[in-house]
C-alpha cells in the first residue's frame, strides 16, 4: 500500500463518516459541523488530485462562506425539536439504509467494471509544472476559452444577491406608514426586552397616569415628547420640565408601583 493510498483512505473514511453524521444528527448545528469536516477532507482530496486551487476555493467559498451562512440561518431561525427523532417511522429509516446500500453496491459495480473511453488530455504533471503550476494553467484555461461562462456565473451571483435581499426583507415595511413613529423600551425592567406596540393614531405626547403606566414603561410617539416626560415619574407629569416630583417608596417595577 503506497502512502498515497493510505492518505486517501484516511481522508475518505473521515469524509464518509462525517457525511453520515450530517444526515443523522439530531441537532442541525452538529450537522453543519460535520459538513465542515467533510468539506475540509474533500479539500484534502482535491489537493491529492492535483487541483490545489480548487481545494483553496472549496475551503474559502464553501466552508468559509456558504456554511457560515447556513449556521447563521440555523441560529436565527427558531427551531423546535422535530418529531422525526421521536420514534417516527423507523421503517423509513431502515428502508433508507437498505436502499442506500443497494444503490451503493450497484454504483460500485458499475464503477469497478468500467472501461475508459476518450483520449487523455495534455495536462499531466510535467506539462503543468512547465506551464507554471496549477493556478497559472487554470487561469489560462478559464480566461481564454471560458470567459463567457465566467460572466454568466457573475450575473447569476448578482441575481442571487438581489433575490436574497428581496426575500429577506421583513414584512412589516408596509405598516410603517400608519402613524407609528417611536417608542421607548426600558431595558432596566425585568421584562424590558418585550417590544411594545404603540396604538396607531396616538397623539404626539400624552400625560401618563399611574394606573395606565404599563409596568414602568413610558410611551411616547415622538422624540420631542420624550424629553419633556420624566421616565421615572410615577405620578402625573407636571407641565414644566424639571419640576417633577420624585416618587417615594419602591422603584419602578415593584408591586407597589403598578
Amino acid at each position: 500500500m503506497t502512502p498515497e493510498v493510505l492518505v486517501f483512505d484516511i481522508l475518505a473514511v473521515i469524509a464518509i463518516i462525517a457525511g453520515i453524521g450530517v444526515v443523522v444528527s439530531r441537532n442541525p448545528v452538529h450537522s453543519a459541523v460535520a459538513l465542515v469536516v467533510t468539506f475540509v477532507n474533500l479539500a484534502g482530496i482535491f489537493v491529492m488530485l492535483r487541483a490545489e486551487f480548487l481545494a483553496a476555493v472549496q475551503i474559502i467559498v464553501y466552508t468559509g462562506a456558504i456554511l457560515v451562512l447556513v449556521l447563521f440561518v440555523i441560529m436565527l431561525v427558531d427551531m423546535d425539536d422535530l418529531p422525526e427523532f421521536h420514534g417516527g417511522a423507523p421503517l423509513q429509516r431502515l428502508s433508507a439504509i437498505v436502499i442506500g446500500l443497494i444503490l451503493l453496491g450497484e454504483v460500485a459495480a458499475a464503477v469497478v467494471t468500467r472501461t475508459v473511453v476518450g483520449q487523455p488530455g495534455p495536462w499531466n504533471e510535467e506539462t503543468i509544472a512547465a506551464a507554471g503550476g496549477n493556478v497559472q494553467v487554470l487561469g489560462q484555461f478559464l480566461y481564454s476559452g471560458y470567459v463567457l461562462p465566467i460572466q454568466a456565473v457573475a450575473i447569476v451571483l448578482l441575481v442571487g444577491t438581489i433575490g436574497a435581499l428581496v426575500m429577506a426583507r421583513p414584512d412589516e415595511i408596509t405598516t410603517r406608514t400608519r402613524g407609528r413613529t417611536t417608542g421607548t423600551i426600558s431595558l432596566g425592567h425585568s421584562r424590558g426586552a418585550d417590544l411594545v406596540a404603540l396604538p396607531s393614531g396616538a397623539p404626539t405626547a400624552r400625560v401618563i397616569h399611574r394606573e395606565d403606566m404599563r409596568d414602568g414603561l413610558v410611551m411616547v410617539t415622538s422624540a420631542d415628547a420624550y424629553t419633556e416626560q420624566a421616565a421615572w415619574a410615577g405620578t402625573d407629569v407636571p407641565s414644566e420640565p424639571g419640576a417633577a416630583e420624585y416618587p417615594t417608596g419602591a422603584g419602578i417595577g415593584s408591586e407597589e408601583n403598578r
Binding site: 465542515v36 483553496a56 447563521f72 441560529m75 503550476g133 496549477n134 493556478v135
Partner: protein, 344 residues
C-alpha cells in the same frame, strides 16, 4: 518541497510553531508594557526583571482556574470551538519564508516549512476556518448575548476577509504567482528609480500603496482588535462570544488572537515589505524587524483609537474598503497590461 525529505519539513514546522508560541507569549508582555508607557505608567514590573515572567504568571493563573461548562451548553461543541481558533492560527505560519537555505550537517534545509503554490490562498482559507471558532463558541455557550456577539463578530470577520483577499489580488497581478517564496524572490531585486540611478528595492509597497493600507485595516479587523473589537469588548454584550469561557479555554481564544496578529504581521512584511530583504545581509532578522513594526502599529492603534460602532464598522468594510480594493484591482490590471510593470 519535493527536494527535502518530509521529516525535515516536520522539524522546521515544529521549530516555527514553537517560535510562534513563544512570540505570542511575549507579545502579550510587550503589549502590556507598550500600552503602559503610552498611558504614562509602567506596566508589569514585579514578576521577574521588567516583568518578563508575566506571561508565565498569566499562564499559571489561567490553567489553575476551575473549568466551568454552563449547564445547558452543548458540551462537545463548547470544548471544540476554542480549539478550532487556536489550531488554525499558527498553521498559517508554516508557509512564511524565513530565509533561503542553510546548510546544517551537510544538508540543505529550507528556512520555511513548505512552499505550496497557493500559499496566500492557504492563509486566507485558514482564517475562513477560524471563523467557526467564533460562531461555535457563541452558540455553544447557551447564552443569547454570546450568540449575538458571535454572530456580529463572524459577520465582521467575513466582511473584512473579502477586503483582505481583494487587496491581495493586486499583489498577485504584479507578481504573477501565489507562492510566498516566489513573491519574496521577486522583491529581492533592486529597481532603478526612473533611470536616475537611485536604487530602491523592488518591494510591493511601492507598487501597491492603496492595497497596503486596505490590507492593514482589514487585518486589524480580521483579528478583532481595537478599533474593530466591538464584538468582544468587555463593555459590549458582556464581552461577546467568549463570555462563558474561563480559564484555559478562554486563553485559547485570547492566544489565538495574538498568534493570528503575529502571523498577519509576518505575512504583511513578506507580501509588501520584502520579508527577509534588507540593505545589508538578507536574513530572518529583517523579517522579524518588519513584523515588529506591524505589531507595534497594532498596539499603537489599540492605545490610541476609540472603538467603532457596529454599523460604522460594517459600513467601512462594504462601502469603503471593498470599492477601493476593486478600484485598485482595475488600476493595477490596467498598469500591468499597458506598461508591463515598467512604471518606475
Amino acid at each position: 518541497m519535493s527536494d527535502q525529505p518530509l521529516w525535515i519539513s516536520f522539524v522546521v514546522g515544529f521549530i516555527v510553531l514553537n517560535v510562534l508560541l513563544i512570540g505570542m507569549a511575549y507579545m502579550t508582555w510587550a503589549e502590556r508594557k507598550v500600552m503602559a508607557y503610552m498611558q504614562d505608567r509602567i506596566g508589569p514590573n514585579r514578576t521577574g526583571p521588567f516583568g518578563l515572567l508575566q506571561p508565565i504568571a498569566d499562564a499559571v493563573k489561567l490553567i489553575g482556574k476551575e473549568d466551568l461548562i454552563p449547564k445547558f451548553a452543548d458540551k462537545r461543541i463548547f470544548v471544540i470551538a476554542p480549539l478550532v481558533s487556536f489550531v488554525t492560527a499558527p498553521l498559517a505560519g508554516l508557509v512564511i519564508p524565513f530565509g533561503d537555505q542553510v546548510t546544517i550537517a551537510g544538508r540543505q534545509i529550507n528556512l520555511y516549512a513548505t512552499d505550496i503554490n497557493i500559499a496566500v490562498l492557504y492563509v486566507l482559507a485558514l482564517s475562513s476556518i477560524g471563523v467557526y471558532g467564533i460562531i461555535l463558541g457563541g452558540y455553544a455557550s447557551a447564552n443569547r448575548y454570546s450568540l449575538l456577539g458571535a454572530l456580529r463578530s463572524a459577520a465582521q470577520v467575513v466582511s473584512y476577509e473579502i477586503a483582505l483577499g481583494l487587496s491581495l489580488v493586486g499583489v498577485f497581478i504584479i507578481s504573477g504567482s501565489l507562492s510566498l517564496v516566489d513573491i519574496l524572490n521577486q522583491q529581492r531585486q533592486t529597481l532603478d528609480l526612473f533611470g536616475t540611478g537611485l536604487q530602491i528595492p523592488n518591494w510591493f509597497i511601492f507598487y501597491q500603496p492603496l492595497a497596503f493600507v486596505i490590507f492593514l485595516i482589514a487585518a486589524v479587523a480580521e483579528t478583532n482588535r481595537l478599533p474593530f473589537d466591538l464584538p468582544e469588548a468587555e463593555t459590549e454584550l458582556i464581552s461577546g462570544f467568549h463570555t462563558e469561557y474561563s480559564g484555559f479555554r478562554f486563553s485559547f481564544y485570547f492566544l489565538a488572537e495574538y498568534i493570528s496578529m503575529i502571523v498577519i504581521s509576518l505575512f504583511a512584511a513578506t507580501l509588501f515589505l520584502g520579508g527577509t530583504d534588507g540593505p545589508i545581509a538578507d536574513g530572518a532578522w529583517w523579517l522579524i524587524l518588519k513584523a515588529m513594526i506591524f505589531l507595534f502599529f497594532y498596539i499603537w492603534l489599540r492605545t490610541t483609537l476609540p472603538r467603532f460602532r457596529y454599523d460604522q464598522l460594517m459600513g467601512i468594510a462594504w462601502k469603503v474598503l471593498l470599492p477601493l480594493a476593486l478600484l485598485n484591482i482595475v488600476v493595477t490590471g490596467f498598469v500591468r497590461l499597458a506598461f508591463n510593470n515598467q512604471l518606475w
